[in-house]
């Protein structure tokens, strides 16, 4: 009985070792580049955790279909995603305005945006997962811009609707 239990334990340990070896081996040849076995930097070293910003002004959400129904010269689309995401693809004519929960847009930035919009309505699209479109739109409303909307579903929903 004991030898049988030891046999099962031994084979289980061998199975675990083989699977672990397969995982580390696959990581070494992974086409996209593997993960270092030991993290180069701590998981929390470069991250600053902040509470989600409080939304004081509630801008109006708009469905992507409604936005596309408007003439292009009546709106200015503002892309709140990161510069990299914007560079990877964006709505035609959209201006990049990366939103960060740490740094609220300053008065000068809002004035510049207002000057670029002239009399057009501002429609903010962002990353739906973090709600950056809604948050930036709220900041712009608070900053005094009169007609600001945000896209329901974010920039990706707008791009999907356009197809």
């Amino acid at each position: 009985m004991l030898s049988r239990i030891l046999g099962v334990l031994g084979r289980t340990a061998l199975l675990a070792a083989l699977c672990a070896g397969a995982g580390i081996g696959y990581n070494a040849i992974r086409p996209a580049g593997g993960l270092p076995l030991v993290a180069q930097a701590g998981f929390y070293d470069n991250k600053v955790f902040v509470p989600c910003p409080e939304v004081l002004s509630e801008p109006e959400p708009l469905a992507p279909a409604r936005i596309l129904a408007w003439s292009a010269d009546s709106i200015l689309v503002v892309d709140a995603r990161s510069a990299e995401e914007y560079a990877a693809g964006h709505h035609a004519g959209a201006v990049s305005f990366p939103y960060s929960a740490l740094f609220a847009p300053g008065e000068e930035e809002i004035r510049d945006l207002s000057a670029r919009a002239q009399k057009r309505a501002i429609v903010v699209c962002g990353d739906e997962d973090i709600g950056s479109g809604r948050l930036l739109a709220a900041e712009l409303v608070e900053g005094g811009l009169p007609t600001v909307y945000y896209v329901e579903g974010g920039c990706l929903a707008l791009a999907r609707e356009r197809k």
Binding site: R11, L15, A16, A20, V38, F43
Partner: protein, 174 residues
Amino acid sequence: MTGAGSGRGSVRGWIADGATLAARIALSATFLYACWFKIADPYEFAINIATYQILPDSLVNVLALTLPWLELGAGLLVLAGALSRESALAIAGMLIMFLAAILIAMSKDLSISCGCFASEAAQADIGWPKVIEDAAMLAGAAWIVALGGGRMSVDALVARRRSRRQADGIEQAR
């Protein structure tokens, strides 16, 4: 390795075999589904492990790279019923580890998702429902460790062939 089939032909034997097969399918489906995104995106899984704040950072990546492959190997073996006891024991070990991690995180009042599955919809926050779910799976794994893979398993097939060969050998010796 065919303990679940010990009551061969009896109703109890068939019920035990059915329960074993159900446990094998449920465990393998869960673990094979769970390992997929972890193998595809080990960095994301490493962050999930790190959010539990249990392991030192130096061990997080090693676990993120090896654990999903054990889930894959054990999941495939338990599905086939090959090395049933060993693969179920590996699964039981992983479940005990997950349960301990969840309970420690709960004791620290961490509000985090379990990091168990790929899609956002399948991600559940850690809490008592997750503990009960893992405990139920642990009971299933313990059942297989105790009784083996049952009649509908590769282990049973191998055992049947071996005993037939032995019987043939005895017959020839006579």
